[in-house]
């Protein structure tokens, strides 16, 4: 190199190093995060309670508001008492929907609670799954405080698994301003309709819930489950119950689509003359409301029989694998006994099971508590047969189909019975894993032979040696992804070869897949069949991607105009749907589609239309889901298109304009060919995400009507977590979803590459 060249090389290198040194100053963001992490690590030990001297008892519950406050007060009283001084109680609230699932996953691994509060009817299945242990060491002295009937409800094979805490059942809350006298019959309430303003209701209760409708069903002499555990929600009693319910909703006596939340809100805001609800409603009622509890009315149409509600006995159950047995027992005794019960009756207005506390002057003299106690004595305890849990979904489906979907009563009830039989379908028999072991060994053998042959190939060896430096770059990513992403997926996929409840899985080979693909012996395109759900999912994906494209690309084209003012502002505002968490907006949209109180129907009525019951028909429920998902997804497509548009050089447009091309021609001949390749990967990713979009379908339509809007992921979730926990079956679903997507993306790839070549 000449001197000048060397000098210029040196200066240029110096300039480059100087530039790179300036550029590679320590970046701020990781420092900020590291500082925060350090701060958190420092705060943590300081914040941990210095309660190490006492033994910790972990208690889980699903209490809200007043009941949680009562529990906290009981804990405080316990820790001050002589029995509880050595212990520290840690109470954890678990959301009601996730309660059972969390118990199932935590207790077997020893990560669960020592004591948990749950309903009596679940005990039989908990015992079957080894989640609870008998409460030993209780003498007659402690047990005499409780009713034998209540204790028997907590026994399985004569072993006692918990202590009864409170009775929960429905009774009639009466709003004295709207209803001066206690209604003797249901028909009295019905006649109140004419005298109330339009936005108030004579009676509010969850008319679509099988649990709450059971009161009416029992009045007509029907049952949900008979003594042998057979599904009994069919026949004339059930049909008459359904007809009566339909009349109540159609005449506006009872609001449609009422949730427990709505029941509370309507009563609290004075828009309900009477509601059927449990004792948990009381603590949150405002003092300005004049109300009292009355016995449930009789039903004249049922020959004067009273409404007979279900009674649930809430109990403190001792968890299996509890780490602090003694403490758990001590706390259970305190919580259920007179002292704890007195606090719970006072603070949470619970109908306590402790007889001492129930007979105390404050409790016995309290009209609310005695009214509920009378209602509980008139009710029947929820059957604890293991099939009971399975009755609710089919019964609810039947009720909903009849009330919302307009199917005939016989049809809806028969469908419910079919659904029940399907849920109780026996698991595939255990098979010997020999064929699988054989197949896997064969595959391994072939793979090893193949690998050895590759390794012998000198070209291959050279290629590997050349690749060695690259492996240093990918090593840790491979390790992390391999252990925490690939391994669980492989194990999860492997579960599809087993069947049974967690803890008692047995190998069944490909039986799960056969079941899924043959729609469990039902019609191939019947409700709940894999093929129907697949069809719905494909339609769902196609419609969504099409709308995402139209909206996203269209808006991007509009925003890309250089003459548009406020472009930056528009861009930020249009990206907003992406920034808010999807489950928040899914729930917001669900609220907006509510038939009576939703904003969408408000807009429709403001424009002069009729309010639509969005989740009653498949088309409108599907449209609601699509609207939500399009809202969530178009910003992504828009931003990708904006970026791709920015990469198209201006000269091409100018050349086209010079050549006299119109707007449409410019788009077709310049914009689209250059845009399409960049959109390809985005469309592919978007399609995969939409195919697996669980949040929207689960939260907005919940699969209504009758499971018709379910997509493959949400159906798999239901099989795994809500329908008798068939994990193997759900895993088979997951593997099939993966298979469909793999084939689909392969086909799409071939399609787009053909397009590109063109």
């Amino acid at each position: 190199m000449s001197a000048g060249g060397a000098r210029s090389a040196v200066t240029s290198r110096a300039r480059r190093v100087a530039v790179s040194r300036r550029r590679s100053r320590v970046p701020t963001w990781p420092c900020v995060v590291a500082a925060l992490a350090l701060l958190a690590a420092l705060v943590a030990p300081v914040a941990v309670n210095a309660q190490d001297a006492r033994r910790t008892v972990r208690v889980w519950h699903a209490y809200d508001e007043a009941e949680a406050r009562a529990l906290r007060e009981v804990v405080r009283a316990f820790e001050r008492s002589p029995e509880g001084r050595a212990f520290h109680v840690e109470a954890l609230h678990v959301a009601f929907g996730a309660y059972a699932a969390k118990l199932e996953s935590a207790i077997p691994t020893g990560e669960g609670p020592d004591l948990f509060i749950d309903a009596h009817e679940r005990i039989v299945s908990y015992v079957a799954r080894g989640l609870v242990q008998p409460l030993a060491g209780l003498g007659v002295r402690e047990l005499v405080d409780f009713d034998t009937a209540h204790l028997d409800a907590l026994r399985v094979d004569r072993a006692l698994y918990g202590l009864p805490l409170a009775l929960k059942c429905g009774a009639l809350y009466v709003n004295e301003a709207l209803l001066p006298a206690d209604p003797a019959t249901l028909e009295d309430l019905e006649s109140l309709r004419a005298r109330l303003p339009r936005d108030a209701y004579p009676l509010v209760f969850e008319a679509e819930s099988a649990y709450w409708d059971a009161g009416l069903l029992h009045a007509y002499g029907g049952r949900l489950l008979d003594a042998e555990g057979n599904y009994a929600f069919t026949g004339p009693a059930a049909a008459r119950t359904l007809a009566h319910l339909r009349r109540l909703v159609d005449t506006g006596v009872v609001p449609a689509e009422a949730s427990g939340d709505l029941v509370k809100k309507l009563f609290t805001s004075g828009r309900a003359a009477a509601v059927i609800g449990g004792p948990w409603l009381a603590p949150d009622l405002p003092p300005t409301l004049r109300w009292h509890v009355a016995p449930l009315p009789r039903v004249r149409a049922a020959g004067g029989a009273p409404l007979v509600p279900y009674v649930t006995i809430e109990a403190a159950l001792l968890a299996a694998r509890a780490q602090e047995n003694e403490g758990a027992r001590a706390f259970a005794r305190f919580l259920a006994g007179p002292e704890g019960a007195a606090i719970r009756a006072r603070v949470a207005r619970q109908i306590v099971a402790s007889r001492t506390a129930a007979m105390s002057p404050e409790t016995a003299g309290d009209p609310f508590l005695s009214a509920f106690r009378r209602a509980a004595e008139a009710g029947i305890p929820l059957p604890s047969h293991p099939h009971m849990r399975v009755t609710f979904e089919p019964a609810q489906r039947a009720i909903r189909n009849y009330l919302r979907g307009g199917r005939s009563a016989d049809d809806a009830l028969a469908e419910g019975a079919r659904r029940f039989a399907d849920l109780l379908r026996p698991l595939p028999p255990a098979r010997s894993p020999a064929p699988l072991v054989l197949a896997v060994s064969l595959v391994l053998l072939v793979a090893v032979a193949f690998a050895v042959r590759r390794a012998r190939d000198p070209d291959f060896r050279v290629a590997v040696r050349r690749s060695l430096p690259a492996y240093a770059w990918v090593a840790h990513a491979v390790a992390a992804v391999g252990l925490l992403v690939v391994a669980p997926l492989v194990v999860g996929a492997g579960t599809s070869l087993f069947a049974g409840a967690p803890g008692s899985l047995h190998y069944v080979g490909l039986a799960n897949y056969v079941d899924v693909l043959t729609a469990r012996g039902g019609a191939l395109l019947g409700t709940g069949s894999f093929w129907l759900v697949l069809l719905v999912t494909v339609l769902w994906t196609a419609v969504n991607i099409a709308l995402h494209l139209v909206l996203g690309v269209g808006l991007a084209l509009l925003l890309d105009r250089p003459t548009l003012r406020l472009r930056g502002l528009y861009r930020v505002l249009l990206v907003l749907p992406w920034a808010v968490p999807s489950y928040v907006t899914a729930l917001a949209w669900k609220g907006m589609f509510h038939r009576q109180f939703g904003a969408v129907n408000a807009v429709i009525t403001a424009c002069g239309g009729e309010p639509i019951s969005w989740f009653a028909r498949w088309s409108t429920a599907f449209a609601a889901n699509v609207a939500t998902n399009v809202w969530l997804g178009f910003p992504f497509m828009m931003v990708v298109t904006l970026g791709a548009l920015a990469a198209i050089p201006q000269d091409l447009y100018e050349a086209a304009e010079v050549d006299g091309a119109t707007l449409a021609q410019r788009f077709r001949l310049v914009t689209w060919p250059l845009l399409a390749p960049s959109l390809g990967p985005a469309i592919a990713m978007g399609a995969v995400w939409t195919f697996n979009m669980f949040n929207v379908v689960f939260l907005v339509s919940g699969g209504e009507p009758d499971g018709g809007t379910e997509i493959l992921v949400s159906e798999a979730y239901r099989w795994a977590f809500t329908r008798s926990q068939q994990l193997g079956y759900a895993a088979a679903y997951a593997v099939l979803i993966f298979g469909v997507l793999a084939l689909g993306t392969r086909a799409l790839g071939r399609f787009t590459s053909q397009g590109e070549a063109r």
């Binding site: 480059r16 963001w29 958190a40 914040a47 508001e65 954890l92 009601f96 929907g97 996730a98 699932a101 691994t109 990560e111 427990g260 939340d261 709505l262 809100k265 948990w280 290629a463 690749s467 690259a470 990918v474 840790h476 990513a477 491979v478 992390a480 992804v481 992403v485 690939v486 391994a487 669980p488 997926l489 999860g492 996929a493 579960t495 909206l551 925003l559 861009r571 505002l573 249009l574 990206v575 907003l576 992406w578 808010v580 968490p581 489950y583 907006t585 917001a588 907006m592 939703g598 904003a599 910003p635 970026g643 920015a646 995969v688 669980f694 992921v713 798999a716 997951a734 993966f738 993306t745």
Partner: protein, 293 residues
């Protein structure tokens, strides 16, 4: 003369109409995008939880009651400091996820973009495959693995799970970005004596900063908004992240929409701020990834 002016005035007039039309369409889209968000905000600001059918999402008598309840400053014993702790949990977990995910993905993406090594294509296919598996299948095995490592109910365990699930997508994005950077840059640095690693750190990374920012933002957001795994793995209230806390407000029997909306607003604010700060990088970063796929 006047004819040419007339033509120009007509053309200007037409351009104005077109411009107004474009604004109108965009405004409708903005209204569509904002409506549910404004509803959530209105719910957060209206005292009480009574739902009312209304067209305009305006609160009747705005009050900060729900925000106070969520933040725990309304006097309910012991909960005030808890929300702050949970907010910190979310920040720490999401920030750590972004860091770890980008740290793991960047070298691997660079290797995929620059080197042609044995197993590259197979690796890519495996990564793509992991994106297509629904998460339902993985949650229970993950639970068992974390339990075996003793990381259940800890923030570390959660960060590990989030980060590794974010890595495949991050690798794809970054690989596209690295492919778009011409090789001459590092090669010039290497000719001058820098090692491959040095060239990578000092030359390539700074140029790829927008893409790195976008990838970290994605990883941050995924971790910030994720609640299914957090609800499954975390059992103590002090370790909860914000989405789990929010979910508690919407129970089957007692949905406190006001508090939920207030919590949701608080949860969305940091992400919106990040979006605003990074919006230019967002466009550029996504396009670089999009072009090369």
């Amino acid at each position: 003369m006047s004819g040419a002016v007339d033509v120009r005035r007509a053309r200007d007039g037409r351009a104005l109409v077109v411009e107004l039309g474009v604004h109108a369409v965009v405004l409708v889209a903005v209204a569509f995008a904002l409506y549910p968000v404004l509803w959530v905000l209105a719910l957060a600001l209206s005292p009480g939880d009574a739902p009312a059918p209304r067209v305009l999402p305006l609160p009747d008598s705005p009050s900060l009651v729900h925000f106070a309840a969520v933040l725990g400053v309304d006097g309910e014993a012991g909960s005030g400091w808890l929300f702050g702790r949970q907010l910190l949990n979310s920040v720490v977990v999401s920030g750590a996820t972004a860091l770890v995910a980008v740290a793991l993905a960047t070298p691997a993406a660079y290797a995929l973009a620059r080197f042609d090594f044995v197993g590259a294509r197979a690796g890519e296919r495996v990564l793509l495959a992991t994106q297509m598996f629904p998460g339902v299948a993985a949650s229970i095995p993950l639970f068992l693995i974390l339990d075996a490592m003793g990381l259940l109910d800890t923030r570390t365990g959660l960060v590990l799970v989030y980060a590794t699930t974010a890595v495949p997508f991050a690798i794809f994005q970054l690989r596209g970005a690295f492919s778009a950077i011409p090789r001459d840059l590092e090669e010039a640095a290497m000719v001058d004596g820098a090692t491959r690693l040095g060239a990578f750190l000092r030359v390539v990374l700074p140029v790829a900063r927008p893409a790195l920012a976008v990838t970290s933002l994605f990883a941050f957001m995924t971790a910030w908004n994720e609640f299914v795994l957090a609800a499954t793995f975390l059992s103590r209230e002090e370790t909860f992240t914000l989405p789990v806390v929010l979910q508690r407000y919407v129970g089957e029997y007692d949905a406190r929409w006001g508090r939920f909306a207030a919590g949701a607003t608080l949860v969305s604010l940091p992400v919106m701020a990040l979006f605003y700060a990074l919006q230019r990088n967002l466009v550029r970063g996504l396009s670089a990834g999009g072009v090369k796929g």
